[in-house]
Symmetry: C2
Subunit: 332 residues, 2 copies
DNA sequence: GTGAAAGCGCTAACAG
DNA sequence: CTGTTAGCGCTTTCAC
């Protein structure tokens, strides 16, 4: 068994309460005693047991982070932002990867609550029934990231996805494309998807006829973007431009296009969303909508930490909407 | 405050010891009592406090995962393998990103030990002084992943990096390249780097003269690969092929080459290492050495979990060395 | 089959 | 400034 404050109390003949005080830099400890305690702690190679402390303080100094797919380069960037901010306050992050499984997401949230994490940062798989799921969190503070339900009163940090979808589509339209396809992720009532909403409203604003056949839903995977695009390409009169809901999907689209011997953007233009690091690679040069990933993570941690700070009585949960940014590269 | 076993004990008038037993499916509880307990638990919306349980059982059901850079697509793949295997046994993962800072790595290990995680999976930044750092883990079981010191008796899961470096170089040589550069990560006594070792031994085996100027060290970042390659390219007689220690570096190299208006592999061949998902992207087609990332994660979790299993008395720590695999694509 | 009681390692009143 | 005493929520002997 590891050494405890009791061991060090015994060693220097003080009560272990004093040891606790000394170790925590509390007021009211004789500097000399404190020094003795510190010395003994060092000598005995003592390490505080955060978990015991947590039991009495009802605090674990741990935050949960739930993401749909850590393999999507979007999320590691967010995670780093979160971790940096959290570490600054002495918090650790439990990483939960729901793998786009709703069931797994539910399980993991429950496990996280059992573990009494102090707060959770939640990047949900989809908008669906999100409000109903809020009760899963019991009383653990949480903030949404990347996606949030419409009428929540929880905190969140997102970008304006509707606007993002709008400007992406607008860009395509201004480039002269009229036959525009949308490929996105399903498991979703399509009309719930903000980026898709933006897409639709841009079309209607510019009086571009909407062709239902050009809207396909799959997964947020390169492979899925690939097959959706294949499908699009196999049509009688395929679209001339594609708006992919995420860069990962866009990358799959480019792969399919290239495989058909077609050229981007000559034969088919592609615009993505997220601006993952790889999008700017010279051979790729994907036009996309960028989100400030690291910043999103940082902000999410920030407002969650604020909520945890009991001295902060303002019970308002911050809801932050950042602006998307069009990055024009070579695929449009 | 959340509901405790005491609340449910009060409600159905049994001792809370009984509740505990019932909840944990222990022997010696009247099926009827158990049912009542379960019903009450549900009614009260009870959730077990894993942390209190941990205090008495001296177990947290949490594993630490320390990686140098979660933003390097290599690590998320490993992480998913770990998480999948760990979740299977009811464990969570605390993600620690050392950001290639030794100091941060040390800090985080200490925090992890304070938090009494049950085990740690450790992907170290470098080989340097690794054995000396093993004491940081105190008595917490851990396994190395991706990199391990030479003479440790700890468990590890790695691939044969020396062999990997060797076959990468061999491939270049067999393609007819003689002027071969190596760009890798520093913060490292170069001679400690296994892939570099393999590189050197292939050169000597094939009697290719070694040119010290062609060996550059930087960071495991695209940006770093970019600038190292720029440097190489600015030489009087630059190399004709480059072996990059990781795909991320190789990607940076390709960027630099393309920017000079040169062609891969026509003007300069590039081989990477890791086989991150983007290496296979059609516009990239990076020849590389592949490692089974998900499998590595899975195995690491597996052997760590085995070590934690007290019923398993075999105190041997498994050391697994997997084989690297050459993936020939278009850059060589 | 069940209850009483101790204790995991620590913090937080409350005295003194 | 320091010691004593209660717990935090749970598991685990040890009795009955």
């Amino acid at each position: 068994m590891a050494v405890t404050i009791k061991d060090i109390a015994d060693k220097i003949h003080v009560s272990y309460a004093t040891v606790s005080r000394a170790l925590n830099n509390k007021y009211g400890v004789d500097p000399k005693t404190r020094e003795k305690v510190l010395a003994a702690a060092k000598a005995l190679n003592y390490t505080p047991n955060t978990i015991a402390r947590g039991l009495v303080q009802n605090k674990t100094f741990t935050l949960g982070l739930m993401v749909p797919d850590i393999t999507n380069p979007f999320f590691p960037e967010v995670a780093v932002g979160i971790e940096d901010r959290a570490k600054n306050d002495g918090y650790h992050i439990i990483l939960c990867n729901s793998k786009n499984s709703k069931r797994r997401e539910t399980d993991l949230i429950t496990l996280l609550t059992n573990k009494r994490v102090d707060g959770i940062i939640f990047a949900p798989i989809s908008h669906q029934k999100l409000i109903a799921r809020e009760k899963l969190f019991r009383n653990i503070p949480f903030v949404y990231v990347s996606k949030a339900p419409k009428n929540t009163n929880q905190g969140f940090v997102v970008i304006n996805d509707i606007l993002g979808g709008y400007i992406a589509t607008q860009h395509l339209i201004e480039r002269g494309y009229k036959r525009i396809g949308f490929i996105g992720s399903s498991g979703e009532i399509a009309s719930n998807d903000d980026r898709y909403q933006g897409f639709l409203s841009a079309l209607s604003e510019y009086s571009i006829p909407f062709d239902q056949r050009f809207t396909l839903f799959g997964e947020i995977k390169q492979q899925s973007g690939y097959s959706m695009t294949k499908k699009l390409l196999s049509m009688h009169e395929p679209p001339r431009a594609i708006f992919a809901e995420t860069d990962l999907i866009a990358l799959g689209a480019m792969q399919a296009i290239k495989e058909q011997g077609l050229h981007v953007p000559g034969d088919l233009a592609v615009i993505g969303f997220d601006d993952i690091p790889f999008a700017s690679f010279p051979e790729v040069q994907l036009t996309t909508i960028s989100q400030p990933k690291y910043r999103i993570g940082q902000l999410a941690a920030e407002i969650l930490l604020e909520m945890l700070d009991k001295s902060n009585n303002t019970n308002t949960k911050k809801q932050i909407v950042l602006e998307p940014k069009l990055i024009i590269r070579g695929t449009t």
